[in-house]
Symmetry: D2
Subunit: 352 residues, 4 copies
């Protein structure tokens, strides 16, 4: 079977990672077109991929006849126009979060896709493809825990790029827990509270880090999220759910265990101070923690597109819902209040 021909728009860290993934590991797909705001970056990468060329206008890239499907790894503000172009061209698109940068345009995208009557948009919430989240979801769906009641999430990033501000902790980091909550509980989040306790002395001046998000779902369930972006330690993501019959914990430390002296070994046995430790390494970044999840996400998306299903994962509605919850979150951060999430009723949009 011929390969799916993919245009990747945006070749920053995330886009370049997808290009490498498709080129090296994804079965049945080829990157045929690249696009970036900085054309030379796209050219440099394209030169390493047989049969791949650069198209400088993103909308031209989407429309190109050598393109069967699109991956959007461009900055959020460009998403709306690019997504609508994909819809218009009838081409499946895998859109890295956010769907768009505000609730109104996200809703517009949802409506347009609904009018089209064909699902073409998948949103890049990769945790749904992580083996442990999949297992947890499957245990939940099998009734292992009865009714879910509570969840606790921990999401710790070791460091923050320059310019990262307090609202971005909600929109770029906590957004993952927004989707995890909706995925695991299978219902919408109706209110958000953000607690910004005293900041980490290691955080840049003015950055409210950590933040604690508290979600309430439509049926009244409680989810809390501890989010740090400046721990200096490693990349740590954990989720615990508690239901009426038990609980489960994912994201625990894994891998081999090493046992050794705490301090460098002294040459003279007689003088050694004994202080043995056991343990292992923590995944340094999201690449190690969720690399396999990204692979699964893209492989399943490619398979779905080739099978004519186009979407196998979270869709435009999930992107809109995340936007609505994050908008409430930013307001909650600013006001200190519990903010109700303002969302349209899904049933009001036929086909959404």
């Amino acid at each position: 079977m011929t390969d799916l021909r993919i245009a990747v728009l945006g070749v920053g860290m995330m886009g370049a990672d997808h290009v490498a993934r498709i080129t090296e590991r994804i079965k049945g797909a080829t990157v045929t077109v690249l696009n970036d705001y900085f054309p030379e970056k796209a050219e440099e990468l394209a030169a390493t991929i047989p049969g791949c060329r650069v198209i400088n206008d993103p909308l031209d890239a989407i429309a190109d006849p050598d393109v069967d499907a699109v991956i959007l790894a461009t900055p959020g503000p460009t998403h709306e126009k690019q997504l609508l172009a994909c819809l218009e061209a009838g081409k499946p698109v895998m859109c890295e979060k956010p769907l768009t940068t505000d609730v109104a345009t996200s809703l517009e995208v949802v409506k347009r896709e609904a009018e089209l009557g064909r699902k073409l948009i998948q949103v890049g919430f990769m945790r749904r493809f992580d083996h442990e989240y999949e297992q947890l979801k499957s245990l939940i769906d099998d009734g292992t825990f009865g009714q879910l009641l509570v969840a606790h999430c921990v999401h710790r990033n070791p460091m923050v790029p320059p310019g990262f501000d307090s609202a971005m902790i909600v929109k770029d980091s906590i957004v993952h827990e927004v989707d995890v909550t909706r995925f695991l509980f299978d219902e919408e989040i109706v209110s958000v509270q953000i607690i910004a306790p005293g900041s980490n002395p290691q955080a840049p001046e003015g950055l409210k880090d950590p933040q604690i998000a508290i979600f309430r779902t439509a049926s009244g369930r409680h989810i809390d999220v501890e989010c740090f972006v400046t721990t200096g330690v490693a990349y740590e993501v954990r989720t615990e759910v508690v239901g009426e019959f038990g609980s489960a914990f994912i994201g625990l430390d894994q891998g081999g265990v090493v046992r050794k002296q705490r301090n460098p070994v002294q040459s003279s046995a007689g003088e050694r101070k004994v202080a043995g430790i056991w343990g292992g390494d923590i995944t340094p970044s999201f690449v190690e923690r969720f690399g396999a999840a990204y692979d699964a996400e893209i492989q399943r998306w490619v398979n779905a597109v080739k099978a004519g299903i186009n979407v196998d994962g979270p869709g435009a509605w999930d992107g809109y819902a995340a936007a609505a919850v994050c908008a409430a979150g930013v307001k909650a951060l600013e006001t200190g209040e519990i903010v109700t999430v303002d969302m349209v009723d899904r049933a009001s949009i036929a086909g959404a």
Copy 2:
């Protein structure tokens, strides 16, 4: 050296447990006097202990010349009068939580002890004597984590005695995390929020279980507590602290690991379905989880009394602070608001 002669007031589950502890394991102490609201219960127990007799009036028991020190395991409403009697008699007293049942009388007890100019009252927050909490405190004090920023607590009880109401979840269960927070962060809690999400379908009608408590400390730190009293599973207590240089987790599952078939073994090898599991048992109750902590608490108290120090652990002020935070918690539960803790300034009471 002669044994410390102890009167135990109240021989319900907790008091009887202390009697057994002192009789079987605590070095240098003897139970010489028992007292209970139901004299026959005290008589039955006393009959098993050489040299022990029953005194029916609790104040007489405290005053008895054969009594060097007192353990109060009586119902909370009787504590105030009994504590004041101990102070008057100049006898060291180990008082099971609560110090008293309201903030005003707790403060009164603090003041009377302060006026006496001698610490005689210890309060039974046994977690401070648990090996893991001690280790955690020691790591914190050594600066391992830099400044503490956040803590998460999980406190799950398998079942609830009849009559247990929603406010008791705050005052009898979450009170332990109030003390843990004050112990680990070494500062006061200034506000409390209680979230009562949708109740566990396994909980008795009307009981708001689970509850999520959110504490803010004087320096702005955030602590959250998930408390269940009807999980039906086991007794689970965990605490995680996060500071500027790292984090630590105590209360993880421990002990040997068994690996076996999930289902009963079939006799015919050919027909076996393979589904192996690994894991272990969870401590069924606080007895297994904190038994050693209670032993350490009482042994160290006995040693302190014999050494003339009288108190080696949380004192009257800690009991008062816990009462103040719990009072705010109950109000927070009733109103859904974030409630400021109303406490006097410790410095205003000379000797407190």
Copy 3:
């Protein structure tokens, strides 16, 4: 770049698994030719793969111009002839263990490849591609443990196919630890002892299960292996190494942890017996345990073949060495003696 065209010989469980792997997950490779002793099995599978056909003679399949490289998943006794045909055709071949079924023919294959002056043969010891074994090897090579001194291996299979005999435990199961030992210690095994203690009552009549293998390496290091093929539990593989500065353990239980009641939940809260357990599932078979390792093995082999390197992993010499150690092992099993491994000196074969 055009796909590598692969002939898979033998479409039993292992071969069919490789076909599915290449068809669904391996980038840059296509199965163009299938062969099996039962042609209808090959035909049935080929019908599901676009552009794939069946060639009934294995040597014709190897020689076919539509075949760039070969995977041998045929029964061991046919390997010698098929490997020599691959060498003659100058085609890279990935040969599932064993290289051949006896030491002499294995040596013959080593010599023929050496005469050819080109490495074409890789042997399917997949554990070398397992993430944890790779990490362990890397820690060893980095000097983390200083000189390696001892290793312990546990290798437990839940059940045994009919006809599995005691010598097969050495040749088909323990052979993996033979290769793991040579991989981790980077030296040859010089003697083998097999202890067959009292058999598992669950084992088929006459099968000596478990078996304990004891290896001594050229530099005198000790490795022991516990091997079961009838535990009835799950598939469990662990390795621990101990060196002069510390030790490491891989193959520990992983994944999320579930906490629930031991017994089915009773409807009436009051009657529940509390007995909570924590834990998780064990991988039921080698498919779950080493699936990712097989993927990595084949992907890296495909990449190596396309890059003209042809081999990226254990080669013919490793297959010969394993055969020699297993032959000593079978003799050790039969005699109860410590048997010296009879191997030629690698340096005596130019190019081996």
Copy 4:
């Protein structure tokens, strides 16, 4: 009830530890008499214990009317005479291992006690009182694993006192696994093999460390023991048993888990290298690992003596059996052969 009056003979590390234990933690017991080969050591310690005096002749100490029971922590060569004195005096004795230093005298002690018709001798194999070993034994006895088939033991000491020789690794260290095997399998060991692979470069010149001991039980079961005395890391003791229905592992790393940076924290956030680790401390010595087991051992022994039972744990026969297995072990170490254990039939000694 009056305290049990105990004479402790030998106040080296082990004896002094027992003195501290009894003085500080053991209920119902007092040290009334001390004895040591160096009288000033005994005097120094006695001066810290109210009512305790020193008796310079060990046999006088045993016979003293102020002594109800004896703890022997003297060097092994003195045990025979001291044990026989205890038997003659009819005084219960807790004897640290070894029972005596050779098989013949151990058998003589067994016979004398049997003739007496009263069990008075307990041997200090403290692991039987460790919580995890107790749990494991209880799971075995409950039939959790069906018939036991195999066990693996790891026993690692961080360092060796000067003068420790290769045979002492068998007699002083592996002897613990001899008793563990007999305790868990509930049958005798019939043969021993000792493998001394290449020595740890960190070990003193000439010391054969590590050693691997292989035991075969009367019913044919296999136990292996890896023993190191110079790891330089910490004190590590693990045991795994495998039976027909599953397996269990004790001695895993426990306690809280800390997560932090691998390297010292840098002051500038921007320059930090992220390399997070998780883990905890290993018990540095047998004191931390088995301290609670020693407490339980002595407390239960004191209780047994006061109850007139005198022995609650391994007895003289267990000491004799351990001596016989260790004698075979030393011969096995010297010869490299599998050595049959030479023991009398227990049934041949009425009352043993």
